[in-house]
Amino acid sequence: MLNRYIMEQGNIVNHKLFVKEGKTVAFSPEVLGKIQQLILRYPEGQQKSALLPILHIAQEELGGYLSVDVMDYVAGLLGIQPIEVYEVATFYSMFYLDKMGHYVIEVCRTGPCAISGGEMIMEHLRHSLGISPGETTPDGLFTLKEVECLGSCGTGPVMQVNTGYYEHLTPGRVDKILDDLRENANKDKPDDSTWVEKFC
């Protein structure tokens, strides 16, 4: 029954229903195969459980944020109502509802990081990038965000760039990281494999 969902609905939606700005909103066949396996991790009739993992994949594969079209597409894949996807997408801080910069920089603002210099790191980023938290640089390269504890309080201050951790930050190190990112020559960048690659 689950297989039917993904096969039937997957094929229906694949190339016909969801067309945005002339582009089709659909996973590649390989990704779709992986998603089918993910759904089978949950008992029959509980395919909705796969929603969070699939939204992570969707955000990464389909444009960097969850547009209404993408959310509707995911709802179709799982055979649930679009509203069930919207209410989840709006609840969790890792899902973006708007277009983001190429690099999303998320700086931890919570207590332990704050007392080890985190506030200074945010100030430094504001000045270096010329934007406030929640904004994107005009060239579309960086979005700055403030987030809560990242579970890395002993190695603070900490920030994530597109879900990779950068720890023990100093203003000098932040400059170096920004330069590397701009030149796309970031040598010691953290593990940045995709969500699809994460699931065996």
């Binding site: 991790r41 008992p43 509980q46 909705k48 459980s49 796969a50 929603l51 969070l52 993992p53 939204l55 992570h56 799982l78 649930i80 069930e84 209410e87 989840v88 609840f91 969790y92 801080s93 890792m94 899902f95 603002r109 919570t110 207590g111 332990p112 704050a114 007392i115 080890s116 210099g117 506030e119 200074m120 100030e123 987030v147 809560e148 504890c149 990242l150 579970g151 890395s152 309080c153 002993g154 190695t155 603070g156 994530q160 879900t163 990779g164 951790y165 100093t170 203003p171 000098g172 953290p190 593990d191 494999s193 969500w195 690659e197 994460k198 699931f199 065996c200």
Partner: protein
């Protein structure tokens, strides 16, 4: 000290991989449990060990397991809580990163004891890199016949799946976690019914912390009796403490419960003292939700006894002069730390993370943050301090889940022990603001 139990072998190169882990005694406990013991015997060993939940509340694990509805004909589930979002806590991440197989081993034995065939590891989405580490460890265990159908040719079958969250502190609360795992918003459920009867998909479910479940392997290996000899009183065994803040050696340490707090803070093998030769001002010993204590009360109890790292000793004096072991997120503040600023910072955290279901929590956390912001930024009144105490009292105990209490306690305890600092902010706003400015300028390199 009792030596390393949970982190044993962590220094061995390659211990993350199956072969090295196995060659160093790994999975022997699984073989012992599945080949030589019945599920009831495994349960009994865990009860005998005195193991208490390492996720925060310290509830005895054997007792929790005994509540599981074993009469129901529905499938049972075991959920490993790897949400780790309590500020100051980063121990589960450390354990999963270095010793993923210790957790897998614990999950297999625990599932065997509970009669579970499907186990989910709910891990916070920010730990994306660990999803790959765990998936790989699970695949290796499958390959070697420790997972899947007929494990070790017995009747026992088990699958473990990793399930990522997506950024919400509240999903660490067990019923919010279950909602999230069902693909919904993380709104905590009203209890009862408890997960032991109606948990995931309405089926009997046990939710345990990563560290709790990882300890089950060593307990079966050494025997519950032996394990219970470690530690002190009802705080048996060892515990991972993640230490951070103004100390010389932040990091994750496995301590035998009952270690004096003073030794933990000052001994070279642990925190190694306060950074930059400053004085100790205060400690939040169990993650940001537990009460903060000033230096004198964290080092010794109000009765003048040495304060120990144990469930009982840390809560000695209740909330008047005590605190809690909680998750073991040990946050240290030096003489320069501003308690008002930190309290405001944490109030912001709880306001941000409130799921918004109950009014006392949704509204109260917002008000506490606003009032604290005012005081911290030199616009407070004396009456605001009592207002904060009143708001915190109105939240405490009046909400669906304990996040409300978790938001109220830090504010109430900061005022209880550091009222003079709040008053100082109200009386001398200009001086306080100037001190802040100089302090933050000193961070600049």
């Amino acid at each position: 000290m009792g030596g390393k139990i949970l982190l044993a072998g962590i220094e061995i190169p390659g211990i993350r991989g199956f072969d090295v882990y196995r060659a160093n005694g790994g999975y022997a406990a699984v073989e012992k449990a599945l080949r030589e013991m019945t599920p009831a015997q495994v349960n009994a060993e865990v009860t005998r060990s005195g193991l208490r939940g390492r996720g925060g509340a310290g509830f005895p694990t054997g007792l929790k397991w005994s509540f599981l509805d074993r009469k129901s004909d529905k499938p049972r589930y075991l959920i490993c809580n790897a949400d780790e979002s309590e500020p100051g806590t980063f121990k589960d991440r450390y354990l999963m990163h270095h010793l993923p197989h210790r957790l897998i081993e614990g999950l297999i034995i625990s599932s065997f004891a509970l009669g579970v065939k499907t186990c989910y590891i709910y891990i916070r989405g920010e730990f994306k890199y660990l999803v790959g580490v765990l998936e790989k460890a699970i695949a290796e265990a499958h390959h070697h016949g420790y997972l899947g159908e007929h494990i070790l040719k017995t009747d026992f079958s088990l699958n473990i799946y990793v399930h990522p969250g997506a950024g919400a502190y509240i999903c660490g609360e067990e019923t919010a976690l279950l909602e999230s795992l069902e693909g919904k918003r993380g709104n905590p459920r009203i209890k009862p019914p408890f997960p032991a009867f109606k948990g995931l998909y309405g089926c009997p479910t046990v939710v345990n912390n990563v560290e709790t479940l990882a300890t089950v392997g060593p307990i079966i290996g050494m025997g519950g009796e032996e394990y219970s000899k470690l530690g002190k009183g009802k705080s048996t065994g060892t515990k991972l403490i993640s230490a951070c803040g103004n100390i010389n050696n932040p990091g994750v340490y496995e301590i035998e419960l009952g270690l004096p707090v003073e030794d933990f803070i000052y001994a070279p093998e642990y925190c190694n003292g306060i950074a930059n030769d400053k004085y100790l001002k205060a400690v939040i010993p169990g993650g940001s939700s537990v009460p903060i204590l000033p230096a004198d009360l964290i080092l010794s109890t109000a009765k003048g006894e040495k304060r120990l790292m144990s469930y009982e000793s840390l809560s000695e004096g209740d909330f008047l002069t005590g605190t809690m072991l909680g998750s073991g997120g040990f946050i240290v503040f030096d003489e320069d730390a501003c308690i008002v600023r930190n309290t405001w910072n944490l109030a912001h955290f709880y306001r941000h993370e409130s799921c918004g279901q109950c009014s006392p929590c949704r509204e109260g956390t917002g008000w506490m943050e606003k009032v604290l912001y005012k005081i911290e930024h030199g616009q407070g009144k004396m009456s605001d301090i009592d207002l904060l105490v009143r708001i915190s009292k109105n939240i405490e105990g009046n909400t669906i889940c304990p996040l409300g209490d978790a938001a109220a306690w830090p504010v109430a305890s900061a005022i209880r022990h550091f009222r003079h600092e709040f008053e100082e902010h109200v009386l001398h706003p200009a001086e306080v603001l100037e001190k802040e400015r100089r302090l933050s300028a000193s961070f600049a390199v």
